[in-house]
């Protein structure tokens, strides 16, 4: 998205480029395939509605991730009462191209983290956002991003250790 196109063109382009990344961000943060799919739809409808208000002071992808985050937060609040209802079968609804069992195992490990930690891990280690961009998307300081990531990784390593009886 180089020059600012109209909302329809921008929505189509951003959808084509990033729908799966938005899906993964939502899915790994919320731990639910169907909620993540709903969020993809909601995010791009919000893009269409709000594109005219996008001033272009950040990269459109960063703006898109900020919208995604707001949708995730809204959804997480709604899901608060129904915690831990995600089923194994539901997660299989998403396609995993190779080694599905390994991916599900890693996803289980991810789900042992808090939502903040899952978000940081997804953005920094799965989607390769820089610390600066991650801080911008989450509305945090860079030091909070680093600390949260460090704690998350420590917890994941400990989880792995338990899993293999180390």
């Amino acid at each position: 998205v180089s020059r600012k196109p109209d909302a329809a063109a921008a929505t189509e382009e951003l959808f084509a480029l990033y729908k799966e990344d938005v899906y993964r961000y939502a899915r790994f943060t919320l731990g639910s395939a169907s909620d993540a799919e709903d969020i993809v739809q909601e995010v791009f409808l919000r893009v269409l509605k709000n594109w005219d208000r996008f001033r272009g002071d950040a990269h459109p992808k960063t703006w898109l991730w900020s919208i995604t985050r707001r949708c995730i937060i809204d959804r997480a609040r709604k899901l608060e009462k129904d915690k831990n209802t995600t089923t194994f079968d539901e997660r299989l609804g998403g396609r995993i191209d190779n080694n599905a069992s390994e991916a599900l195992e890693v996803e289980d490990l991810l789900q042992t983290l808090s939502q903040d930690q899952r978000e940081v891990v997804t953005l920094r280690l799965i989607q390769d956002w820089s610390t600066t961009d991650t801080a911008r998307i989450l509305g945090w300081s860079e030091s909070k991003v680093k600390t949260t990531l460090h704690r998350a990784v420590t917890k994941m390593r400990q989880g792995e250790g338990r899993e293999y009886g180390v």
């Binding site: 899906y23 993964r24 799919e37 739809q41 998403g94 891990v121 799965i126 994941m156």
Partner: protein, 223 residues
């Protein structure tokens, strides 16, 4: 990089994707909203051009154009009515679909939230049951069955792209438009103020024209 070990483990998650069926649905909902957005934009431009002293007159003209546009879109959907195709070219293999009271209640609740007067098919293909009721955004209700899914919308639904067949067929006493290509098939029709699109949900398994026609003809209001 101090997190290389974890990052390598997490790399298994980089290929997780949405199901193609749901991706297709979302795409269609967004295309539909884009079409509405573009229509609103055209009317705003016309309104501005005709604005100023004659704004009241402009509003009337814009409304007239709006009605005309909707009528035109609807006309485009149904095409001419002289070449109706009936289901006589192949067997219809639909079976009754049953609904639980809780499902009907849920349909009514979601439909009410999005502002759609809901209708449901009483016929489907072998094994069809209602699996998902979704809020497709304002004015759009989505119903998934095992082998097909439905959008019910208060505004015209954008036509599918890349179709090789497009023809007018009868849907009860009314008409609809059947679209197909090698991968999927669609039936669009308008009933009781609601625009309806039915399409196959299983990739590579088209719903036959006859079955789409029978499913569409079986639509009833939700009691």
């Amino acid at each position: 990089m101090e997190y290389e070990d974890i990052q390598e483990k997490l790399s298994a998650l980089r290929t997780v994707r949405m199901t193609p069926e749901r991706g297709q649905q979302i795409d269609q909902v967004i295309q539909n909203e884009i079409q509405k957005y573009q229509a609103r934009g055209r009317w705003r431009v016309i309104g501005r051009k005709l604005g100023g002293v004659g704004s009241a007159a402009a509003a009337v003209v814009v409304c007239a154009i709006g009605v005309g546009a909707v009528m035109h879109i609807h006309q485009t959907h149904v095409g001419t009515t002289t070449n109706y195709t009936t289901a006589s070219h192949g067997p219809t293999t639909t079976v009754p679909i049953s609904y639980k009271t809780a499902q009907l209640t849920q349909i009514n609740q979601v439909a009410s939230a999005v502002g759609v007067t809901p209708m449901i098919p009483s016929q489907g293909q072998q094994g069809d049951v209602l699996t998902i009721i979704k809020n497709g955004g304002k004015g759009n209700l989505i119903l998934n069955y095992k082998t097909f899914w439905i959008i019910e919308s208060t505004t015209p639904i954008s036509e599918p792209q890349g179709m090789t067949t497009r023809k007018t067929i009868s849907v009860g006493v009314q008409s609809g438009t059947y679209f197909s290509n090698s991968k999927n098939s669609f039936l669009y029709f308008h009933n009781n103020g609601i625009y309806v699109a039915i399409q196959g949900l299983q990739v590579g398994k088209r719903v036959s024209e006859q079955n789409l026609q029978a499913i569409a003809t079986s639509f009833k209001s939700v009691q």
